[in-house]
Symmetry: none
Subunit: 401 residues, 2 copies
């Protein structure tokens, strides 16, 4: 359902909604017939929420599609990631919390090496170490252009963020300069429409200056630009769901995505217990809170089944104190699956529970993938969870007479 | 699936389809773990249909969205209510069965009070009694305009229907005049596009005349206009599903929605048994029949769990006689949930059964929310039911060679 239509139905109540995200929650058995990480974990408190609430499985993007962190979270925030797509450059900016203005052109950039003929020899500059790349990025940050301010921020290894802030706003549908394989010259930045021609010209001018500055650097003597994009103007979360909203997260990427749709974000130390004091502090001032817990995804990416079990149990232990703070409707889920078996994000549907508000019972007695598959919600799209929770908080008026 | 594509597949057979709607059928347990209204009801005949047929749950509009009666019924008729949206004015016209022509501008209007400066003091004129409002509406019905005929029909209390029938057809995307709160002047009717300018001018002229006529009336000295709309031109139901269609309903709203898509509607007295003779009479002449039973919704809105149980049992008792009349494929469901617990429509999925025609078995042995959740249909959109029933009547040809 279009977000503008949801916004037209939003109505105020006193009831507050909590979205608790265990990043990469969904898992797989390590051996056929075995438990997933969540099923192996001892989670008496999440099980109790599942018993008292309603369960299901959600698919953040679409069948067979493995979500990145941005699309996964947008889905949980109610934004269909197939409709609300963010450019890679903007996501890179969000990931390091660069304060993007509405006219900034955000570009995902990386160091590379080229030979004397200008042909690319290594597209990632041998994955140059961060301590070697950072000083190069600082030098690029000093580039000045006619008609725009420029900012370079080192991200990690060969990756950096380039932001071009033009004096006059411009579209930024510009092709990547990465030729995709070594032995070819970098592509010129090509505008895909006439409105993006100024952006392409600024990118070309910046590349000329970067080439000069990096000339002779043995580790990285050129840069490639990808995913040029301008921060999208989407409906604000507080307008769509009629709730003032805060995001509490240790990692900048998640605060960034939340900020993109107008949530008020705050940084906390890593770990499940660190979420508690900030949530308690902010509870009175916000009607919706998003709490992000990163550890299950990291453990999954590391292929560490047991650590993923342990960090899920760590969250379970704080659940009673979260509930004491007083949310009326609670969603617990993940933004995607990260099975330790696969050491990566995956497309598998993610278990979820919604607790609080008027609902039918289901027979789900524990929080896990197999149990949730039999829940009353069945399989749903990820972007359906927020409307369901909002309805249960009494915050949507009737559609049509 | 687009209705035009369904229409291209429609093919004739002898088999007849019955849609029996128990308005507001879906419910909730009054206490956790308890039965819903439908589950508490003794329904041996509906249970037998469920056993011999196939079951599921449907969502009339979208996740978390509470359907009004119009969208709920359009979904059951196969029309996606997110695509086929009716203006509020047209719905008000349908609700009192005003015979709208294709060029009529239908407007949901209500009496209000204004002070000497013209500022609204009560947006609903103190919910003026119907017997006081009706004579005022009759006086407004005598308004004559240059370029249009006008009709006013009192609906209830402060509400009335205004129909402007322009000499030349015009679009009617015109803003509401209700300022939304007391202490402000009514807004002027504002055309949202140039094609709607004539409609806005006619509405302004009508309001000038209404102000003169109501001047000095203590109970209601002004009117507010909302939801100006023209009857939409949608594919006809008989074209889409290839069946001549009749609607049998006690309440004008439901006959009105059916008429909007070309069904032949007939009024009957209220109650389940009153549907029987009219269905029997019309059975030979129509290939599709929609029977509407209002009582479960009313009982739900009144918060009367026991009465909702009783009226569901009342329908159950007439089911054998309905089946004797001879429909080949039968859908039994509701247009939305109206849990007595909530005393209102709600977003919860609605149980349905489809009986007759080739189908796989499911294990559902009784007609109820929890049982239907395990049915072979799973969860479906409301607008999927008609295509499923039509297919079971053998009335769709193959899609593609």
């Amino acid at each position: 359902m279009r977000l503008e239509r949801l916004a037209a139905l939003a109505q105020p109540t006193e009831r507050k909604v909590l979205l608790l995200v265990l990043d990469g929650l969904g898992g797989l058995p390590m051996t056929p017939g075995g438990p997933t990480e969540l099923e192996a974990a001892r989670t008496p408190n999440l099980d109790e929420l599942a018993r008292g609430g309603t369960c299901g499985l959600h698919e953040p993007v679409a069948a067979g599609i493995t979500p990145g962190s941005g699309p996964g979270h947008l889905a949980l925030f109610g934004y269909d990631p197939l409709v609300y797509e963010t450019g890679r450059g903007v996501l890179e900016g969000l990931g390091i919390e660069f304060p993007l203005t509405p006219s900034d052109i955000a570009i995902r950039a990386n160091f590379c090496t080229v030979d004397e003929a200008g042909l690319v020899t290594d597209r990632r500059a041998g994955r140059i170490a961060s301590e070697d790349a950072a000083p190069l990025a600082e030098r690029l940050d000093r580039i000045e252009l006619d008609g725009a301010a420029c900012f370079v921020r080192h991200v990690k290894e060969h990756r950096f963020l380039l932001v071009i802030r033009p004096d006059a706003p411009t579209a930024a549908d510009v092709g990547d300069t990465d030729p995709g394989r070594p032995g070819e010259a970098p592509l010129a930045p090509e505008a895909h429409d006439t409105a993006s021609a100024p952006a392409a010209a600024l990118m070309a001018a910046w590349l000329d200056r970067a080439r000069e500055i990096l000339a002779g650097e043995p580790a990285a003597n050129m840069a490639l630009l990808r995913g040029a994009s301008v921060r999208p103007e989407w409906p604000r979360f507080d307008d769509v769901f009629g709730m003032t909203a805060t995001a509490i997260a240790a990692y900048p990427m998640y605060r960034g995505v939340a900020t993109l749709i107008g949530m008020d974000a705050v940084a906390v130390p890593d770990g499940a217990t660190a979420l508690l004091p900030e949530y308690r502090r902010r509870f009175a001032d916000y009607e919706f809170s998003f709490l992000h817990f990163k550890a299950p995804d990291k453990a999954g990416e590391d292929g560490d089944f047991d650590r993923k079990v342990a960090v899920i149990e760590e969250v379970d232990a704080v659940v009673p104190r979260l509930m004491e703070i007083g949310p009326d409707v609670v969603i617990v889920t993940g933004d995607h699956s990260t099975p330790a078996l696969m050491r990566s994000h995956s497309w598998h549907p993610v278990p979820f529970l919604i607790h609080g508000g008027p609902a039918r019972a289901d027979a789900v007695a524990s929080f896990g993938e197999t149990a949730c598959a039999a829940g009353v919600h069945g399989r749903r799209r990820g972007c359906d969870l927020m409307p369901l929770a909002t309805a249960r908080a009494g915050r949507f008026a009737k559609f049509g007479a």
